[in-house]
Assembly symmetry: C2
Homo-oligomer: 226 residues x 2
C-alpha cells in the first residue's frame, strides 16, 4: 500500500486551498484533464464549471483566474519532482550518482503516482511540456515572482545546481546549466513530436525519453568536467 501525501504549496497560488475540499479536488482533477485536452487557450472556467457540474463563480472562489490555476498545477509538478529527487537520492553519497538520478527523474516519462489520487501525472507532464513557459512569459512576471509563485521551480533548480557545484565547485554556470536542462527536458519531447527537425530524437515515442536523457546527461557531464 502507498502513503497518501499532500504537497505543501505556496498560499498565494490560490484563494482557497483546493486540496481541502471535494469541490477543490474536482477542480484540480478536471482542470488537468481539460487543459491537456483543449490547451490553455481553449480552456475556460466556463467549460470547467460544466465538467465539474458547478458554476464559474465557485471556481473563482478557489483560483483568481486561469493563469493562477495553471501556475498552481505547474508548481505542483515541480514540487512533486523535487520530492521525488529528494526521496531517490537520500543516502546516496556519490554526487555523480545523485546527479544522474536527478536527470533521470527529470527526463523520464511520468506515470500515475498512487500517493496523489487527485493528480493524473501523465496528463500533467504533457501540460508541463506544452504550457509551463506560459507561467512566466507574461508582463506580470515580476509581480508574480514577488509573491513567490515560482518558488517551486527555483528551488528544484537550486537543488540540482548544488549537486553540480559539489562535483565541480569552480564551474561558474551551474544554475544556467540546470535551468537550461530543465527546459530542454520537456522542449525536446515537444519538438520530437511536433517539429522533429529541431531534434535528433526521431525514433519510436517511448524511446524519445531515454534518448533525451542520454543527450542531457552527457551535456551536463561534459560541461562540468574539470
Amino acid at each position: 500500500m502507498t502513503t497518501l501525501l499532500k504537497l505543501q504549496m505556496n498560499d498565494n497560488l490560490y484563494l482557497k486551498d483546493p486540496q481541502d475540499t471535494e469541490l477543490g479536488q474536482k477542480i484540480v482533477r478536471h482542470s488537468i484533464q481539460l487543459i491537456d485536452e483543449l490547451g490553455l487557450e481553449g480552456f475556460t472556467f466556463k467549460k470547467l464549471s460544466v465538467a465539474i457540474e458547478s458554476t464559474e463563480a465557485s471556481i473563482y472562489r478557489y483560483f483568481e483566474n486561469k493563469h493562477k490555476l495553471l501556475v498552481y498545477l505547474i508548481t505542483w509538478y515541480w514540487t512533486w519532482m523535487e520530492y521525488k529527487i529528494d526521496f531517490a537520492t537520500n543516502n546516496i553519497k556519490d554526487p555523480y550518482e545523485r546527479l544522474e538520478k536527478a536527470m533521470k527523474l527529470i527526463t523520464e516519462k511520468k506515470c500515475y503516482d498512487n500517493s496523489f489520487p487527485d493528480v493524473d501525472e501523465t496528463a500533467l507532464q504533457r501540460i508541463v511540456i506544452n504550457e509551463s513557459e506560459k507561467t512566466y512569459l507574461t508582463k506580470q512576471v515580476d509581480h508574480d515572482n514577488k509573491f513567490g509563485l515560482f518558488k517551486g521551480y527555483k528551488s528544484l533548480c537550486g537543488r540540482i545546481a548544488d549537486i553540480v557545484s559539489e562535483i565541480n565547485p569552480k564551474y561558474p554556470f551551474s544554475h544556467s546549466l540546470i535551468s537550461t536542462c530543465l527546459q530542454a527536458a520537456h522542449q525536446q519531447v515537444f519538438f520530437a513530436e511536433h517539429l522533429p527537425s529541431l531534434t535528433d530524437h526521431k525514433d519510436a515515442h517511448e524511446e524519445v525519453y531515454s534518448r533525451n536523457f542520454e543527450f542531457i546527461h552527457s551535456l551536463v557531464l561534459k560541461a562540468i568536467q574539470k
Copy 2:
C-alpha cells in the same frame, strides 16, 4: 551608405505582403512597438488600429489574426539572423571559427540595422525573448508547421547544426544541441532580468549578453569534443 534589403518570407504568414504597401509597413512597425510595450496578451488589433490611425478591418486584410502576425515577426527575426550568420561566416574556412561567430551573433544584444528601416531590431529581440515560444506552443502547431510557418527557425537550427557536424561528425545530438542553445540564448536573458536565481548572470545589464555567450559557447564546445 547601406543597402536596403527585403527578406523573403513564406506566403502563408500573411494574407497580403505587408512589405508591399505603406499601410503594411505601418502595421509591422507599430505592432513591434505595441507588442513590446503591452506584451502579446495585452496587444489587440483594436489598439494597433488606433496606433496606425486605421481600422481593425484593414489589419485583417494583412494578417489572419494576431497569432499569425506574431509568427510573422518572429520568423522575420530568425530569417534575419540566418542572413547575418551567412554574411559573417562567408569565406571563413575553419568551422570552429564559424561556430563561434554564429554563437556570438545569436547571443549578442541587437541594435538597429539600417538595411531594414521598418524594423526596430532592439524591440524585436525583446519580443523574441518574451513571446517567441508562444508561436509553437499551441494546439495548432502541426497545422501551422504543415504550412511552413516555422521554416525560418528550422532552417537556422539546421544551418548551425551543420557546422557542428562538420567539426564532429560522430556527435549524435547536433540538432538538439543547437535548438537547446537557441532557446537558452534568450531564456537566460529573460531569467537574468526576472528570475535571476535561475541563472549565474547576475551582473550589469550589458554584461548579461557576454556572460551568456561564454556559457553557451563553452557548453557547445565541450559537448561536441571528440
